[in-house]
Assembly symmetry: C2
Homo-oligomer: 193 residues x 2
DNA sequence: CGCGGGTTTGATGATGCTCAAGCCCGGTGG
DNA sequence: CCACCGGGCTTGAGCATCATCAAACCCGCG
């Protein structure tokens, strides 16, 4: 259950966690199981928790005036899922996060995490590195989105996130890329030839 | 010269910097003046420095195969400018950063900044908050880019970055928004009526 | 005056969206 | 075991948005 989280942390920092640290981590997080289609966070709520996904798959989306949905993030196991704006500012979230494949989450509030990080310094370093990588990934995604047409964006996506292709339906990917499912369908057909 | 940086830091953390801290900061950063059109960072180079802009305006862009340029970031005074991917990974940068309005920069290497932050803890907190805000801003920009047509993106931009409109030419803004200057020109004409 | 950016305008075409229909396939219930 | 259903995927026709290319315009400046 917690093993994924421990190896995740270990991938970020070189040193190993002590037994005591592992215990503190275990008691600070809280296990939550969610089934397909259940919400982890709904528009209007405050994102009190961040979740480490130890199993399953989720999506983050925003809904527009006309009932449409735009997917802005996809998550699978070993990802952290939260709505960062709401989580840090405590304003109501404009986004929803729901479950695609039955999930096991390790959740923690911002305050608990801060307190925990005081006692387990590795987590501070981990957060810093995660922020670095996150900023880099976002910059890349943004560059790609404003620079390239649908076909190239899809190519890039396939190369960078092969596992997502297997786990999520096509129309999720399309929405994530900022195109319609029809366009994605046609783009794929073209690129085969 | 350093005053902008001090007030910037002060805006992020509540407490004031001590005289000693200010001295340490002054000696850790290095002043660099750059004229319009000069490069702060060129494609292929490693981004050894991050720059606090105490005066002036700059742009970050990437160039495509056909000689075109896509602007991915715009900076004015009281912004930090660097290419984060290269700065943190030490890989050659795919982006350029050059100067639009004559600029005064306070620059520092990653190592020096880390060392400085050891001695001035306020900087660690500041970095954390900057990362938070940055992540939030990027998420918003991404959502807007994949969700809305040119006209709405421009509206949002005008609301969120009024000062940029005054400082940069239209075709910079267009490129930043991921549209052509012609389209932006027409969008503006429409929205007046 | 003429030059160099920056901006606008127009004509044309590509790209991607909308709406609507059909297909495919796995799951459910009779 | 088959009929049906729902969700996802594909296909097509028509349309909106936006890019491209080319020309003109505007204006500050040497």
């Amino acid at each position: 259950m917690y093993q994924n989280l421990f190896t995740y942390i270990h991938n970020y920092i070189q040193s190993s966690l002590t037994i005591e640290e592992k215990e503190m981590i275990k008691s600070a997080f809280q296990l939550k199981k969610l089934r397909r289609k259940q919400f982890f966070l709904q528009e209007g709520e405050i994102a009190r928790y961040t979740a480490f996904i130890s199993k399953g798959a989720m999506r983050q989306y925003i809904s527009d005036e006309k009932g449409g949905e735009r997917i802005v993030n996809l998550f699978i196991e070993n990802y952290w899922a939260t709505e960062r704006e709401s989580f840090t500012t405590l304003n109501p979230s404009r986004y929803n996060i729901d479950v695609w494949e039955d999930a096991e989450l390790l959740i923690i509030t911002r305050e608990s995490f801060m307190a925990l990080a005081e006692k387990v310094p590795a987590l501070i370093e981990m957060t810093r590195l995660m922020d670095d990588r996150n900023a880099i990934a976002n910059q890349r995604r943004l560059t790609s989105t404003i620079s390239y047409p649908a076909e190239k964006r899809y190519e890039d996506f396939v190369n960078n996130h092969p596992r997502f292709i297997e786990r999520f339906p096509q129309h999720f990917i399309a929405s994530f890329l900022g195109i319609t499912k029809e366009t994605l369908s046609r783009v794929k057909r073209q690129s085969i030839k």
